[in-house]
Symmetry: C2
Subunit: 279 residues, 2 copies
């Protein structure tokens, strides 16, 4: 079964980091003018909004945009207990910020620490999540575990497959905890289709990010491609996500020095064209 065809922009969400040069108010205005309906707000964009985080949320809603998620929390791992407590405190603040912003979901990049095994880091991630989930629940904020590509296992995330993220989400038995699927991180995994289906059965698929993996990127961080520019079959994966029952937004999140250097209005046109043609 193919993905539902894209006939309009009603399920398109853009991450503010994608158009990093634009301040939040400019981004929100331009997204809305282009017909986009969803916005995911990066923490720096919200924090840099001159009138504060609550006002940042009002600006988005004032443009008719739905705030899809707040990005990002996590980084629970550390070599010492004090470092891990600092991370827990910081994540509670991020939950408060999401609440002020009016975002229903925080995406978590969970952390990894050189000098300890990935198994140790994963146990610390579980402990950190257990420590913040009561606050998230009290605030009505959901948390999405985003597994990162294995090339980020050194110091960004010890969760590198959807299997690991979903298993952890299930182990903590909390309906406020689920997963975020990003095609850039997971496209290579031969278990992806089955694991997306399992996320659906378990009602744990909280959000869905797209971009493309360019053939032989020049930079491990900031050379992501527009959909259709690389090797990922985005429509196929979006089809799997739809078959898993996901009816939320398709979020475009692109880190790219090349695109950040471009006129952002022109880039926005390219994003919309790539969304229509190759997603």
């Amino acid at each position: 079964m193919a993905a539902l065809p894209i006939t309009d922009l009603s399920r398109l969400c853009l991450h503010t980091i994608t158009t990093k040069p634009w301040p939040l108010a400019v981004a929100a205005k331009n997204y809305a003018a282009a017909g986009i309906k969803g916005i995911t707000v990066w923490r720096d964009a919200a924090q840099n909004h001159p009138d504060g985080i609550k006002a940042a949320g009002q600006v988005c809603r004032g443009e008719g945009l739905e705030i899809v998620s707040y990005v990002r929390g996590g980084f629970f791992t550390a070599l010492d207990a004090a470092g891990r407590q600092t991370a827990i405190d910081e994540n509670k603040r991020i939950i408060d910020e999401a609440s002020q912003l009016g975002a229903p979901l925080i995406v978590l990049v969970c952390g990894a620490t050189p000098g300890q095994s990935l198994f140790t880091s994963r146990a610390q991630i579980a402990d950190g999540l257990a420590a913040i989930l009561p606050h998230a629940r009290a605030c009505g904020i959901k948390l999405g575990l985003e597994p990162l590509h294995p090339m980020y296992a050194d110091s960004r995330s010890a969760l590198n497959t959807l299997t690991q993220a979903l298993d952890l989400a299930l182990a903590l038995k909390d309906d406020h905890l689920g997963v975020t699927v990003d095609v850039f991180h997971l496209w290579w995994d031969d278990r992806l289709q089955a694991e997306i289906a399992r996320c659906g059965l378990e009602r744990k698929l909280f959000s869905f990010h797209i971009c493309d993996w360019k053939n032989q990127p020049v930079d491990m961080l900031n050379d992501r491609g527009l959909m259709g520019e690389g090797v990922i079959n985005v429509p196929e994966i979006r089809g799997w996500v739809g078959q898993a029952g996901f009816r939320g937004y398709t979020e475009v999140e692109i880190f790219s020095n090349r695109y950040w250097a471009m006129d952002q209005g022109h880039f926005l046109e390219k994003i919309i064209a790539a969304y229509r043609a190759n997603s």
Copy 2:
């Protein structure tokens, strides 16, 4: 159970690519003088040897070195049948070269092609292997499937986990086909210990490569670290490999613009020190 302690250099093998600035004869002479016993010859090093590939092998053996493997074959995938046949023909030539060199094993980087799915590429890899295995067997040359890190799934290898490589080696039911484990490519995988054990039970663990994954490498290709410089627990993985019954060489393979720019004699000392202390 920990790895067997390293008490001498009797199981150390060096890849010629590691000291790329040295021509093969210089590398062989310096490795032997340092007490190293094994050498893995890269194809360009053998082909650049002025007296031909057979003489390249004699140079290595003349220094008292055992040739451990010939690197590398593979790249079986292509969008059209003609491209795949070209790859098969090329791999047969590589088998002939290994035979002339006197190498018992060829390491295979199996290929991936943008524009087709990884599942399609894997099927083409299986077909390519089936086409060359009779020639490998006739020449007495073993083939080691080396799964590459998922960051190379775009165009270098559709085999990205040891699970995939071992399953493929088993599916083709040929005792000349096995796997090569490289810590750089596989360290992040939570199934690694179990899969190495399975390789041992199946007698499919043909060779073992080490280096280190530096925290946040600056380059996806040529910024590998010396053992101990990064985040991989090399002794632990070497322990798993030993427990799996592997008694072959531990091969140091490092691609590094930084180290290639260094005096190679000094670098060789650092390799040996890192092998003794952190492997």
